[in-house]
Subunit: 282 residues, 2 copies
Amino acid sequence: MRERPLLSNATRPATVEVESMNERGERLATAIAGEHPLTLYLDKRELVTLMTLGQFPEALAIGYLRNQRLVRSLAEIRSVQVDWDVASCAVTTFAGVADLDAKLEKRTVTTGCGQGTVFGDLMAEIDSVALPVDARLTEATYFRLMDNVRRYDTVYKAAGAVHGCALARGDEIMMFVEDVGRHNAVDAIAGRMWLEDLDGADKIFYTTGRLTSEMVIKCAQMGIPFLVSRSGLTQMGYEIARRAGITMIGRATGRHYLLFTGAQRFLRTASTEARDRSAVVT
Amino acid sequence: MRERPLLSNATRPATVEVESMNERGERLATAIAGEHPLTLYLDKRELVTLMTLGQFPEALAIGYLRNQRLVRSLAEIRSVQVDWDVASCAVTTFAGVADLDAKLEKRTVTTGCGQGTVFGDLMAEIDSVALPVDARLTEATYFRLMDNVRRYDTVYKAAGAVHGCALARGDEIMMFVEDVGRHNAVDAIAGRMWLEDLDGADKIFYTTGRLTSEMVIKCAQMGIPFLVSRSGLTQMGYEIARRAGITMIGRATGRHYLLFTGAQRFLRTASTEARDRSAVVT
């Protein structure tokens, strides 16, 4: 077992209560999602201010550095210390980050609900991603996973205003992270995958958020062959998934789904009822 | 009438069709939302790459510069030229932007589904915002506006994966902009408000997206006293709305809403039925 960085454990409460008034004039104590600025410092250099729910701030910091390609392995990181009193997270490395100035200088702020990534570089990297060709997901396992996701106790059910992401192996949810930004939730999962020494090759990534370009790129970077979203997708999300060979499912609600790319990994086992209905429609 | 900048008119198709397969094994032509990188240059200096649906790219560029406080009025802008062949938007000013290097150097990438803004500066600016104290919105007008929003023909209905924002005066929707990122939609509205010489003081801003800190800050910056969202809100969104004195309504679906802040501007006119139900509950 390799050495873990020295981590603080600075979770914030997920919700707070405020008063609202509904259409019947009733005053209600209403749970709303927490949102806290957290400024990341890498070896004392200020990088970014993330607005976060604060559930896994240390994993978020690590995953941010991972997905931004600022550190290449967990072994480079000596310590991650979050101090909410000053809204900061100090990450220190053992040996410093080579060319940090050059890397930050180059950084283009890329948006679309995004986070500031070197988009051009990431697109080039997509072509170097090799997702496992022999991974398989059966429809029965997929439906059981969707049931597990639906039953999961979430901040969203209590307060809304957050996106959720889950990392699953088969129908088992290994981690579920919610945050005010979609990308923070993905990054926190990327950080926890490093901390728990988990590989992406046999995993399924589920998100409540839309499958835009950056979302699909991050899934590919994490080496995860299956990407499932409750929401829709964009043209670039679709093109990147096809290029990277991701098995991508959108509009996953109840028994309904749309399989967009990478169909060879998904083993459909239509129920009798579904076959009957299909026969009628076709 | 003041002079407008020289504008290209480079709208992109909102949706494209791709093939998907549903749970019954049927192959379907499925509309998905466009998503295109657009790199903004200000006086030949590269600023940012926005991932956008591309409905109003010129207004998006202008609104981005406005909301980032890089230009202070439309009169500073000579020309906005979008060229999708090279995925770029060139903005030129008449006199250059003072201290552009310093402004860009200072910029912290702030996220939470955000866009790269000088967060600290924006918070300071909130205290200088003076929203009209005498603006009023009646519940009847509000309900008519929600009906109009519901009936509006949107990319979302066809393809999902976009957020929508509307600028309204009373129950009249003056503009409706959708984009793959919430912030792009807001920025495009900010740009169109400048282009159409519209003031925020008597307007209502509607968004399908969550009311996070940056969303509420931008609404305040545009001088709009009413902010309505179909979704929920975060703690910082709530705190900023209260501090700026915005009248903020969340969870606006059908006849249901929750009024969180600025109640003095909202004139409730409960129906008899609603009063009866209220009496039962209380």
